[in-house]
């Protein structure tokens, strides 16, 4: 597998990266390389230059400020999977990505900026109500996960921006991720993330997101509405999960799972994710 010719630059700081982006025409940012390098080798992408931001220290690591955890864009999946104070949905999803080699190299920022429709993290971050922080030459801005993932491989990140970190609320709600694996790629055929809060025996808030079915991760508002105000009993969760079909447009099909099968699996995995999240909500 031989990629086309490209120039390689290493940026040692975010400012250096911006300077290089300004100089170079159709350059691509290289982080962990686990989406970009295969695309180059398959000759699906042919940028004239790569700007390696993989060693920029300020983009790495997880910090905590009150009830917000900030995950640097270059934090690896392995680091997230091993973190003790992140929501369970996020750590379990990170731990199910690819294999150990992929998790040791692949980065959170690279994953979500790539926005593969079957990827796990967009689904989880959408359910968690995460915020994407990005910087451009004109300054910094933040976009909620709900608005960040636009379409197949398309996000709100501008051509001249760098995703710097992700803010994840850590608020004691119960969270979980349930996934039907593609047996080959280990991406999600159906991935469901749920976040629920319970007070006085009733669900006070619910966020449910699905990935793998549609061109980008989507919320399931019908399910969420059906959960809020109810006790999270098995029957109530099942009844809410049954609503999910109405929240899904443009469901995809492939050799592993037809549209029909994916639609049939959606309520089952919603039920599994919400049930587990409810258990964790205590």
């Amino acid at each position: 597998m031989y990629p086309p010719k490209f120039d390689y630059y290493r940026a040692n700081s975010i400012d250096e990266a911006f300077a290089l982006m300004g100089q170079l025409g159709d350059a691509k940012l290289l982080a962990g390389g686990h989406s970009l390098i295969p695309a180059l080798k398959l000759r699906l992408a042919a940028p004239s230059a790569l700007i390696d931001i993989g060693r920029i220290g300020e983009l790495k690591g997880i910090s905590r400020n009150g009830s917000t955890a900030t995950i640097g864009a270059l934090t690896t999946h392995a680091t997230v999977a091993a973190a003790s104070d992140l929501p369970a949905a996020l750590t379990e999803a990170a731990g199910w990505i690819g294999d150990p080699q992929v998790r040791n190299r692949g980065t959170v920022g690279g994953n979500i900026a790539h926005a593969d429709p079957a990827s796990d993290l967009p689904t989880v971050l959408t359910a968690l109500g995460a915020t994407m922080n990005m910087r451009g030459l004109n300054g910094a801005r933040s976009v909620s996960a709900d608005d960040f993932f636009i379409d197949l491989f398309m996000t709100a990140l501008g051509e001249d921006e760098i995703l710097t970190s992700v803010d994840v609320p850590v608020d004691g709600a119960g969270t979980a991720y349930a996934k039907l694996f593609n047996p080959a790629s280990r991406y999600a055929i159906v991935g469901v993330a749920a976040k629920v809060s319970v007070s006085g025996g009733q669900c006070t808030s619910a966020r449910v997101a699905l990935g793998g079915l549609t061109p980008s991760a989507v919320r399931a508002p019908s399910v969420e509405a059906a959960l809020v105000g109810k006790a999270l009993t098995a029957d109530n969760i099942a009844a809410a999960a049954a609503q999910v079909g109405g929240d899904l447009d443009d469901v995809m099909g492939d050799i592993h799972a037809s549209e029909e099968y994916r639609r049939a699996m959606a309520p089952i995995y919603v039920q599994r994710a919400v049930s587990k999240a409810a258990e964790r909500a205590g």
């Binding site: 597998m1 086309p4 047996p183 050799i255 592993h256 799972a257 049939a264 089952i268």
Partner: protein, 787 residues
């Protein structure tokens, strides 16, 4: 005879270099001045080549040459040959680079030779090929129907051959009079071999000596040399040297003579420089010969008491776009001849149609015909047990060939060597705790869970033989193996084998045999293989033959060495050779009853060099060669059991428990055999649950990468319980049978039967493999919707 090494789990001597990254693979080879080849491949399954414009690629800096198929043809390059041609077979040319027409996605149309692989791949994008796409046919049965797109003008209706065994009249009579006939239509799906190391080839033409050296990832370098000489390159065989150094797995896919093994040396000869080609993983998916791909209708006739009466099977076997080197042998001589399984099955009729389609050629893949035979037969047996409401093991036991009936002549040509099938299943029931599994299954079912037990009893035919029969059936080569033992004057030993190791551990197992036969330390034995310049002609490694055929050749040569050494020792001790003993624990030769009157192994090694005191008529030197031609296959057999659970909501399968008892005859290295069985089981489960090579109707490969082609992974398995029953094969002096394919053959059907047993309470009779969650879910839905 007491063995020091045979039967011991000696750690593999080749492993330190592999795990330290010191293996020497073809892709590692670099020769000064070496150029790099990249091949332009067809994106269409079937198209007329209207024109190829290579001018832009040729003009690119660093590109040395661009060649197309017509240039090779004009230079006298021949078709890649088919080496197994049953009577009335219809064949068509297979040019290394397509001329006029492409016939599968991945068919080569041009080659770029450049100073670096990067430049070569960049230049591929500059070649402009004009295609006129044509409609394609993918399915082996549909290919034979009227009106199907034609693959070759020379093969009307796409039927290359029809191979029947038995008579239609006889089986029809049995079917008509039987109490019960179990019928099944099944598909044995196409698989991609996916050896860990992709194929590679380096060629160096020496214009001074007119000699060509080719390094290639082959399981049988002598066969490649023979075919390069006879069929494709036309160079004299004695001017060709083919070297297969360390090779990272093959599973059969590296047996065959591939187009790149012609393109690369031909280009090297044109340019007078070494040329290298290394397959990308993407190319491997569309050029390495695929496996399986049968569409079959099968009928088992039996009495109400479960006695088998007859078997009637018709199979359409997909040959792909071209007949690969041994392709027609797989669904014929290695498939139909196994239809008797472990059973007394008095009347068998089997027939195979080999049909051409617009897909990658299909040839031997681990098991090669035998997994397809076992899958078909053992599915029928399981269905029969269900219809008769008999325990599936009891039904099998009722029909077993008994231990006192060997050698056993089946109705499908094979003569089984040895076995004890009742005892095999006794061992399985104990190892797998059959009673316990049934209790677990029944308890789970009572809770409404879908849990099933999969059982199989499989036969294998390993070490294909004899040459006389194989050549009579259409094989272009015999089935013997060579083994040379060269004792150096210092007593160290070089062993040359025509067999090839690409993961099997010959460097260890063959050294164990030779060291024990000669009574010397294993460390003193070096195994040399994979180089036509260093070893005598050999047939290579396939069909689980290396131990039984290649190992026996070495054992026979060792016997010849011992005989000669004894003669020299007797002469020097001034006694009759009949009064001498060769002590195979120490390598010393002494007078019977007088151990102190002795000569050491080194003494006689030196004596053979000095040659000043040899008996009359004995030549100096100590080197013996054997070309061993086995009289028969060996017949490994197996009993496997699995406990399976299915998630009713999603159709996902979990493999809960797995136990296997295999009879692979005497065992040289139990650790290596266990590795073969465990790896084989994993591969077999891969076919049952995950692996699936899928084409669309236009002939596009939809599962063309590891993103879509699911390989088995460790987390899909429980700990496997693996055990052995040894019934030595009387066919060879070592008593060994093949061990390389048994696990793969047995595991697919074991797991498939388990899945179907789990679904039996729902009334689901059969689902084709792979048993993916979607297929199982669809079957459950169809059943609950009353379809």
């Amino acid at each position: 005879m007491s063995n020091k090494y045979i039967g011991e789990s000696i750690k593999r001597v080749e492993d330190p270099r592999f795990i330290q990254g010191k293996g020497k693979y073809v892709a590692n080879l670099s020769i000064p001045g070496m150029l790099h080849a990249a091949i332009k491949r067809s994106p269409y399954a079937h198209a007329v080549i209207k024109g190829i414009d290579t001018s832009k690629a040729e003009a690119m800096e660093g590109v040395v040459a661009v060649y197309v198929g017509q240039q090779m043809k004009d230079d006298g390059i021949g078709s890649l040959p088919c080496g197994f041609n049953p009577p009335d077979i219809k064949t068509a040319p297979h040019m290394p680079l397509a001329v006029d027409k492409v016939r599968h996605v991945g068919d080569g149309v041009a080659v770029v030779i450049a100073e670096s692989p990067y430049i070569a791949y960049d230049a591929l994008d500059l070649i402009d090929v004009q295609y006129e796409p044509l409609s394609a046919v993918i399915d082996p049965k549909k290919a034979a129907q009227p009106g199907a797109p034609q693959v070759h003008d020379e093969i009307p209706n796409n039927v290359s051959f029809h191979w029947p065994l038995g008579t239609r009249e006889e089986i029809n009579a049995v079917l008509a009079s039987a109490d019960k006939v179990i019928e099944l239509d099944l598909v044995n799906q196409r698989l991609v071999p996916n050896a860990m190391e992709p194929r590679a080839c380096v060629a160096q033409w020496d214009a001074f000596s007119d000699e060509m050296t080719i390094w290639t990832t082959s399981q049988n370098p002598h066969i490649i040399r023979l075919l390069l000489s006879l069929a494709t390159m036309g160079l004299p065989e004695n001017k060709l040297r083919v070297i297969s150094p360390d090779v990272g797995g093959g599973f059969g896919s590296k047996i065959f003579h591939y187009a790149e093994e012609v393109i690369v040396p031909w280009a090297s000869k044109q340019l007078g420089r070494p040329v290298k080609w290394v397959s990308t993983r993407s190319e491997a998916f569309v050029t390495d010969a695929h496996g399986r791909d049968h569409v079959t209708t099968a009928k088992l006739a039996l009495k109400n008491d479960g006695t088998f009466l007859g078997l009637d099977v018709t199979t359409y076997a997909n040959m792909g776009a071209y007949l690969s080197t041994f392709a027609p042998m797989i669904p014929t001589a290695l498939y139909i001849t196994l239809f008797s399984g472990l059973y007394k099955l008095p009347v068998i009729f089997g027939e195979a149609y080999g049909t051409m389609t617009h897909t990658v050629p299909v040839d031997a893949y681990r098991g090669a015909g035998r997994p397809e035979a076992s899958y078909m037969l053992e599915r029928l047996v399981d269905l029969a047990a269900r219809e008769l409401d008999m325990d599936p093991i009891e039904l099998r036991r009722k029909n077993f060939i008994q231990p006192d009936e060997f050698p056993y002549q089946t109705p499908v040509a094979m003569i089984y060597d040895s076995g004890d099938y009742p005892k095999l299943f006794d061992s399985l029931e104990a190892l797998g705790d059959y009673a316990g599994l049934k209790a677990k299954r029944d308890a789970a079912r009572a809770e409404g869970r879908l849990v099933g037990i999969g059982i199989s009893g499989c036969i294998e035919a390993s070490g294909p033989a004899p040459s006389q029969v194989a050549v009579g059936l259409g094989a272009g080569v015999g089935l013997w193996e060579s083994g040379v033992i060269r004792v150096h004057p210092t007593g160290k030993v070089s062993v040359m084998t025509g067999s090839h190791t690409h993961g099997q551990g010959h460097e260890t197992a063959f050294a164990q045999i030779v060291a024990d036969e000669l009574g010397i330390p294993m460390e003193d034995v070096e195994i040399i293989h994979g180089d036509t310049g260093r070893t005598p002609f050999g047939l290579g490694t396939y069909g689980s033959r290396s131990a039984s055929v290649g190992g026996t050749a070495l054992a026979v040569s060792a016997g010849k060495v011992r005989d000669k050494m004894l003669k020299i020792a007797a002469h020097q001790l001034e006694v009759d050779v009949e009064d001498m003993v060769f002590d195979r624990t120490t390598g010393t030769m002494h007078v019977k009853g007088s151990p102190e009157q002795s000569k050491s192994f080194v003494d006689i090694s030196v004596a053979a060099l000095m040659a000043n005191n040899l008996p009359e008529g004995v030549e100096p030197g100590l080197e013996e060669t054997t070309f061993y031609d086995p009289s028969n296959f060996t017949f490994p057999n197996s009993a496997h059991i699995a406990l399976i659970e299915i998630d009713r909501d999603t159709g996902q399968v979990s493999l809960l428990e797995y136990a296997a008892v295999d009879d692979v005859g005497k065992v040289i290295n139990p650790m290596i055999v266990e590795g073969q069985l465990v790896g084989g089981i994993a591969q077999g489960v891969g076919q049952a649950l995950w692996e699936n090579c899928v084409y669309d109707e236009q002939g596009q490969l939809l599962s063309g990468s590891f993103m879509d082609y699911a390989m088995p992974r460790a987390d899909g398995f429980p700990m496997l319980k693996v055990s052995r029953n040894e019934t030595p094969s009387p066919t060879n002096p070592l008593g060994v049978k093949g061990a390389g394919e048994m696990g793969t053959i047995a595991a697919t059907i074991t797991v498939a039967n388990g899945v179907m047993d789990a679904l039996a309470p729902l009334g689901i009779r059969h689902i084709d493999i792979p048993h993916t969650p979607q297929r199982i879910w669809q079957a459950i839905q169809a059943q609950s919707n009353g379809h």
